[in-house]
């Protein structure tokens, strides 16, 4: 990639006192969930540190691995949930 990308896009000086750089905060996901509080803000899609790049800059080492499971039907009738379900359905048959 041409030019080592520096840090994130600079926060504009005019606004530094208005919207504190929320990315500087420790990850919000680590905070304990307070169920009654207001919803946290939507994350902002930051400006890219570079304007343009080439296709090779988007390639992962090892290529684009398999990302999605399209056939995921679960035939395992011995796992916990299936066992409970089977017990319940047996009761029905006895009736």
């Amino acid at each position: 990639m041409s030019g080592a990308p520096s840090s994130n896009a600079p926060a504009t000086k005019l606004t530094s006192d208005a919207s504190k750089d929320k990315n500087a905060e420790p990850s919000k996901e680590q905070k304990p969930a307070a169920n009654n509080g207001p919803l946290e803000e939507d994350d902002e899609f930051e400006d890219f540190p570079i304007e343009d790049w080439q296709e090779e800059d988007t390639q992962l080492p090892g290529g684009n691995a398999h990302l999605w499971e399209e056939s995921w039907d679960d035939d395992d009738t011995n796992e916990d949930f299936a066992v409970q379900l089977r017990e319940e359905l047996k009761k029905l048959e006895k009736k």
Binding site: L14, A18, D42, F48, A65, D73, F81, L85
Partner: protein
């Protein structure tokens, strides 16, 4: 003797003469701290053109006209007339008063002054031949202006008086302050989009965007950033319409603009429940995002919406996806939902999507504005898996070679009742106790009778009394419990959407599986692959995404649609 302001204006004139748009931008700075030469200029402006003197503005315009001869009408190299550029005069005068007065402590005033300055810059941008010289300046100001607008929106105490004044005087819906900013910036976006002084279709022979069209996606992305941050997604539609109608193709723009635009476009389609279109846009953005670690925040956000879109299309994240650096911590938020879909665990699904947000994933999903879509549109996949699971456990092969395997809908009903009741009765503490699995369960789980609807009524929050009858003596709260009609309705809905292959015998309350003798048997052919079903019926065109010469015609429709037939009368009744 030339003054400091006239020296600076002569520099401006030189930049225009040389058609150096970026040099012009570097002169017309607006953000403190200013370099020493500007501090001198500001001091001079304060004495010679003080803020409180009503004629200062006129005097400033006068010195602009005197020094920036490029704003006069003239002729180009071929002798064709070039109209005057008066909006540039007003803009330059406005810029000088802006830097004279700017005070970042007063955010609201800064916003108002920037708004004025931005509008004047937008007007200057409209000049047919010279307007393009101000484009980099317009974009740089737009970035600052959008930050101030978003910043103000997050400080409601600063704008409370404006908001209340607007809502009491205006009819209908008052425009919020960030929306006003977005509308101002959209004017510049439209100017870029409609530039006629370009090569055919706005593309240079080298395949690059020509003229002001170079600014289309930069301006669109800034507008979209404001509208998303302030949750005014309705307002985005105009931008996508305009781009669909008159933009050059997206692929000729720089990668950062493409990826950012496709992020917003994908999220917009996601919010509108066009999940297939969302998936196409987000997947492309994710694929084109650099893998360098400094771009991890962008990759992570793209991945979050991409995972959600795929869940809604019946594709579940693979284990290897979660090993990527940008995916740290995402498994815990998405895997419970994927598990509920995979296994048909309706109780788990109900707990994840409980509106009290008590499930550990719920806050995450809400914060990213995924909760509504996932809670409302994934349920049918859970239904399908539960039907399939009950079929595997209790389905009957046909009596003869020619008769179809069947699933008794009463068995499905028993499963639904068990799981619905279980979801209601499980408190978070019980759920935690349950997490130990068989042999490690808490005693309360062993004793709780999950199978009767009356047990559910004891739990607050699941009893319903219409507010008109609240407190009236003798009113029995309503507790929903699925019945056989609802099972038939759900089954019919799944058949209609292509997620079950077969038919219902209303008389026997059974679902008969079709295609059981084809390879794979009933479990495969009776329960078609969700992703394959959705993919087949979805278009590849994404509204708002211009590719090549052809334009898309409409948003790709995708995702499951909940068709509730509980109120419908059975056929023939």
């Amino acid at each position: 003797m030339s003054t400091i302001e006239s020296q600076l204006l002569l520099e401006v004139n030189k930049a225009i003469q040389g058609r150096h748009a970026h040099q012009l931008q570097s002169i017309l700075v607006i953000e403190p701290p200013f370099p020493p030469i500007y501090e001198q200029l500001i001091a001079h402006l304060k004495t010679k053109y003080p803020r409180n003197n009503p004629s200062s503005e006129e005097n400033l315009e006068h010195i602009v006209r005197a020094n920036v001869s490029e704003t006069e009408e003239g002729e180009d190299e071929q002798g064709r007339p070039v109209p005057n550029w008066s909006p540039m005069v007003s803009f330059l005068a406005c810029w000088m008063s802006f830097i004279r007065d700017v005070n970042v402590e007063n955010l609201l005033e800064t916003y108002e002054r920037l708004s004025d300055l931005q509008q004047k810059a937008n007007s200057a941008l409209q000049h047919a031949t010279k307007g393009i010289l101000i484009l980099p300046t317009v974009i740089a100001y737009a970035n600052v202006f959008s930050r101030v607008a978003i910043g103000l929106d997050k400080r409601p105490e600063l704008i409370a008086h404006i908001v209340s004044a607007a809502s009491s005087s205006d009819e209908g819906r008052a425009e919020s302050l960030p929306e006003k900013a977005a509308n101002i910036l959209r004017n510049a976006f439209t100017t870029c989009l409609n530039d006629r002084n370009t090569a055919p279709r706005g593309i240079t022979p080298q395949g690059k965007p020509d003229g002001k069209k170079i600014g289309i996606y930069k301006m669109a992305n800034i507008c979209l950033r404001i509208l998303f941050q302030c949750q005014k997604l309705d307002n985005c539609q105009t931008i996508f319409n305009n781009i669909q109608n008159s933009s050059p193709p997206l692929h000729i723009y720089p990668a950062s603009e493409r990826v950012t635009y496709l992020y917003y476009l994908g999220r917009y389609h996601f919010a509108c429940t066009h999940f297939f279109a969302a998936q196409l846009a987000l997947q492309r953005a994710y694929d084109e995002c650099p893998t360098v670690s400094s771009c991890n925040p962008q990759r992570r956000l793209l991945l979050i919406y991409l995972i959600a879109s795929n869940l809604l299309l019946g594709r579940l994240p693979s284990p290897s996806l979660y090993t990527r650096p940008e995916a740290v911590g995402l498994r815990e938020h998405f895997e419970p939902l994927a598990k509920a879909i995979r296994t048909g665990d309706l109780a788990l699904f109900r707990r994840i999507t409980s509106l009290d947000l008590s499930h550990p994933s719920a806050r995450f999903l809400s914060r990213h504005r995924l909760f509504y879509q996932l809670a409302n549109y994934c349920e049918i996949f859970v239904w399908r898996s539960l039907f399939r699971r009950v079929f595997l456990l209790t389905g009957k092969q046909g009596d003869t070679d020619r008769s179809a395997p069947t699933l008794d809908l009463h068995a499905v009903l028993a499963a639904f009742r068990l799981l619905e009741t279980r979801a209601r009765n499980m408190t978070p503490a019980m759920e935690k106790a349950d997490s130990g699995g068989p042999g490690n369960r808490h005693i309360s789980l062993a004793l709780a009778d999950f199978s009767t609807p009356s047990a559910a009524a004891a739990v607050d929050g699941y009893e319903y009394v219409d507010e008109d009858f609240d407190g009236v003596e003798g009113v029995v709260p309503y507790v929903h419990s699925p019945d056989i009609m609802e099972m038939e309705a759900i089954c019919a809905s799944l058949i209609t959407q292509g997620f079950l292959n077969g038919y219902i015998s209303h008389k026997l309350s059974k679902f008969a599986v079709m295609g059981a003798r084809r390879p794979g048997g009933a479990a495969k052919n009776g329960f078609p692959n969700v992703w394959a079903v959705i993919k087949t019926r979805s278009g590849e065109e994404v509204f708002g995404w211009k590719e090549g010469a052809k334009g898309g015609v409409g948003p790709g429709m995708g995702g499951g649609t909940v068709v509730r037939l509980s109120g419908a009368r059975p056929a023939g009744a």
